[in-house]
Symmetry: C2
Amino acid sequence: MLDLLKSHASVRKYKDEPISDETFHELLHAAQHAASSNFVQAYSVVRVKDPVKRDKLAELSKNRKQYESAALPLVFCADLKRLEHAVSLHGKEILAGATESFLVAVIDTALFAQNFVVAAESKGFGICYIGGVRNNPETISELLELPDHVIPLFGMTVGVPEETNEVKPRLPVEAILHEDTYDESKYDEILTKYDSVMEEYYRSRTANNKNSGWTDVMAAFLSEPRRTYMLDFLQSKGFLKDT
Amino acid sequence: MLDLLKSHASVRKYKDEPISDETFHELLHAAQHAASSNFVQAYSVVRVKDPVKRDKLAELSKNRKQYESAALPLVFCADLKRLEHAVSLHGKEILAGATESFLVAVIDTALFAQNFVVAAESKGFGICYIGGVRNNPETISELLELPDHVIPLFGMTVGVPEETNEVKPRLPVEAILHEDTYDESKYDEILTKYDSVMEEYYRSRTANNKNSGWTDVMAAFLSEPRRTYMLDFLQSKGFLKDT
């Protein structure tokens, strides 16, 4: 089981083999057994079957290749709309605009999605998370007719792998684990060593080999503004309104 | 594998059996292979060993019983601080205050945590997510000396199960799955049926049986304000500052 988790790598090219509805639903059902904060189950999945919609989604999320070849082109949504319906049956309203409600929905969706990934990979399928749906969240919301209090959090492609990326070496456990108190004094030494590990990996991997470590890639990537419209978008969908 | 996922239920009482550092690190290492947005790996785990700190954490998160008996009392943190160190090695700064950066860190942390849960449960351990650390996030941050750009997202207890809760029936797949477009017209019928399923479950379960369904529990729970300080707290830690 740990070997299955440790073998995860994104799949960006799939074989032309379908996944049956039965199998897909079985994976979803298993995934739904992830924990959910107070059992609110605040997530939805949109499966994009229509080829025109799929092509638009591929273009909007800037992940054409994956979405075109995947058996299951999916969008995972943080969803408080179903809960609105649930409580309206009792003449009540939820506080969907509260930051805490947003946090709950995002975490719920992510736990569910990762359980889905483990389920899918255990059956030999490959997956790729598509953060790129957040490149055009408003247009994608229109495309999928997402109402208020539902947002496309990330996409995912699923299928039978044609090519699998190599597994990237993760940060050493001591970088992410702290005992009793958070200790940032250790980072510079650990990260410098990790750069060597990543340099070796990037140099020797078969595809897209390059000359870089980890911290330099992060520096180049994270110091530029990204998706600066995100707060406006979330608020336009009724989230984070307690500002 | 799907059977393992489907058997998940929270464990709130543990046997007095330790988990070795070796095993714990092995679980963490496997869990780190969850996907990470642009490989930023924006999470940390604080393990609380010190009994005084553990008791305080238990009290602050209002989960005394679990935290007292668990072999591993953990706090999972969304963490952009390590990335600050990484990019500072190259004379740069990250945009930690951007809503998109916050989203990335929260999702990264949740994917990692759920992978950790699957790893732990595959080894026969039980777990319980503790959303209750968000009851007193400021005091818990002080207790664990979390710097800016690190927040306690949720806690977790891990150990050898003494008692396991029963598995709750999840929403039917058709409630969470949409085809091409989001369809909320189906909810009222599906949720009414699901209420009957949950009523039967709550009536017949061995512990804490009660007379309720799902929508009424949600209505009672979600219509009251909760953790209304959350946005202020997050901003005080340097997140969501693009408002």
